[in-house]
């Protein structure tokens, strides 16, 4: 695997109210996962660099979402779930005692497949929810809310109804609200689990634009079933596959262009050309 060089020349993000680094380097090392006695993922090694959007592709049930959930310790919320290996955030093991669990999840944010804003809260409160949850005090709360909504490309649509309940937004707006909510706690990494699978094409395009705008500010890892989407938004791509009754493995990974135009493995070629999955 050839990881792109870290680009230290890229411009700082507009961060009046959003302090924080420009994105962290996340690395899965020999990650294997089980649900009970069933092994669903085996020996996954992927390095997700800052300034790069990494796409995880593969057919359903190949373990890519499971892998994504190991990256911010959501995997262990399933009572019977276990894992082996380690996940390094800027070189520190997130499963070790060096990093607090809540700190891991704050620094590695997540956007879910189904938009999950807090329906009873207002739009503004949703954006600021992470601050309350992490006990962070911010001098300019309104400024942070505006900056986060702008970064998620939602500001112009909701600027006049910040006090309206979030449940009234459309699905695409709710998803961008969730992105804004994740960005408000200034994460180093943003994990996205099929963020557009429940959305219409217009909303999907808005989210893809948002991803491209964010990629210099925060490391993005996206699981997607949509091959065009992987090509449009990602620079690095990993193809997961699980043979019948076997755990999922990474079959091939590399620069997205190369993976799609000149795959090394015939299974990758079959998948990216739509012959199965």
């Amino acid at each position: 695997m050839t990881a792109p060089e870290l680009d230290h020349t890229r411009p700082m993000a507009p961060q009046e109210a959003v302090p924080g680094p420009m994105g962290g380097v996340l690395e899965g090392v020999d990650v294997s996962c089980w649900f009970g006695s069933r092994k669903v993922l085996e020996g996954v090694n992927i390095k997700m660099d800052a300034g790069v959007v990494t796409a995880l592709i593969g057919p359903s049930g190949c373990g890519k979402s499971t892998f994504l959930r190991t990256l911010n310790r959501m995997h262990e919320l399933v009572p019977i779930a276990t894992l082996a290996g380690s996940v390094l955030l800027d070189g520190h093991d997130i499963y070790g005692v060096g990093l607090r669990l809540t700190e891991v999840r704050r620094r590695i944010g997540m956007v879910f497949q189904k938009p999950n804003p807090f329906p009873a809260m207002t739009i503004a409160d949703n954006v600021a929810a992470g601050l309350k949850l992490t006990g962070k005090k911010v001098a300019d709360r309104d400024g942070l809310i505006e900056a986060s909504l702008r970064r998620a490309g939602l500001w112009n649509e909701v600027r006049n109804r910040l006090d309206a309940p979030a449940g009234g937004l459309s699905g695409g707006q709710q998803q961008r609200l969730c992105i804004a909510r994740s960005l408000a706690v200034s994460p180093d990494v943003l994990l996205m689990d099929e963020p557009c699978s429940a959305l219409d094409p217009t909303s999907t395009r808005r989210i893809e634009e948002t991803i491209l705008e964010l990629k210099d500010q925060v490391t993005i890892v996206i699981v997607t079933h949509n091959m065009q989407q992987a090509q449009r938004v990602s620079q690095h791509c990993a193809f997961f596959l699980a043979a019948e009754n076997e755990p999922g493995r990474v079959i091939e990974q590399g620069p997205t262009d190369r993976l799609f135009s000149d795959p090394n493995d015939p299974r990758t070629a079959d998948y990216v050309n739509g012959r199965f999955g």
């Binding site: 911010n72 959501m74 919320l77 009572p79 809540t102 700190e103 891991v104 999840r105 704050r106 620094r107 944010g109 997540m110 879910f112 189904k114 999950n116 804003p117 807090f118 329906p119 009873a120 809260m121 929810a129 992470g130 309350k132 949850l133 992490t134 309940p165 449940g167 969730c178 909510r181 994740s182 706690v185």
Partner: protein, 334 residues
Amino acid sequence: MQTTDPQGSVPSDVPEPPPHADEPRKLEARLTDADRVYRAVVSSGAAATLLLITLIGVFLLIGAWPALKEAGFSFLTEKVWTPDGQPPRFGVAAMMFGTFVSAVVAMAITVPVAVCTSLFINEYAPRAVRRSLTSLVDLMAAIPSLIFAIWGLFFLVPALAPIEDWVVAQFGGWLPLAEASATGGSLFNAGLIVACMTIPITTSIIREVLAQAPRHECEGALALGGTRWGMITSVVLPFGKGGIIGGSMLGLGRALGETLAATLILSIAFEIKPRILENGGITVASGIAIEFRDAKEMGLSALMAAGLALFIVTFAINFLAAMVVSRSRSGAST
């Protein structure tokens, strides 16, 4: 089954489709026999409930009428209970006061304990413990109130006596609530025992509702770096508000009508006083149970009137609760 004639015209007993008009039309549908039977069965069930409540209300009203006529408005304000005396003097003021005080004490203990127990079982307990705890709580709801009352009388109240005496000694001088000439058979202790009876049923309902909190929202809170407690306050409790109120109201309904605990624990006294730790008090239910045996004609009617008053109060509280719950229905804004 109707058949069409050879010209294919519509059979005569099928109504004409209504003319098209620019207003909402009446919707009709032909039901299957199974649907009709099912509807009849469930409607009669609902009707039976209504009929039962109405009959009880009417029965109480008829029985209470002589007493209500005799006492008039003073029935609500009079504390003394000598309906068979000459002249008869009686009223529900002391009974209602005792009922409310013991119910308030009971709910003040029940609601926090029930919410915390529910949260512990749902969110903190190890998986192995969770199931047995759940069935234990449900089992507690099935323990007869007599058992709780006896346990309270012979164990809990004596065990608490030193603490209550200490509180009285420390705070009694300047805090009216804590004044007492003697402790033990107080409204506070009665409420405490009632709480033991209402905690299981309330916990059972609240736990069930809180377990329905949408997991994807809970994960959203955790993924932002929230603690489990943060997740509970931002997702689980707002979602379960309606259920917490509903479960508490069911518990309150039981607390208002609870007879045995008050009958066994309370030293009977028809009076209204702020000293909830002091011996003496009466509730409507325990008053009826105690006075019933020796009641003569007017006494019986007066007890019926007291029962009617409790019936109306319980009804009103449940009605209010239903309104609150429907306004804050769990997850309504999802």
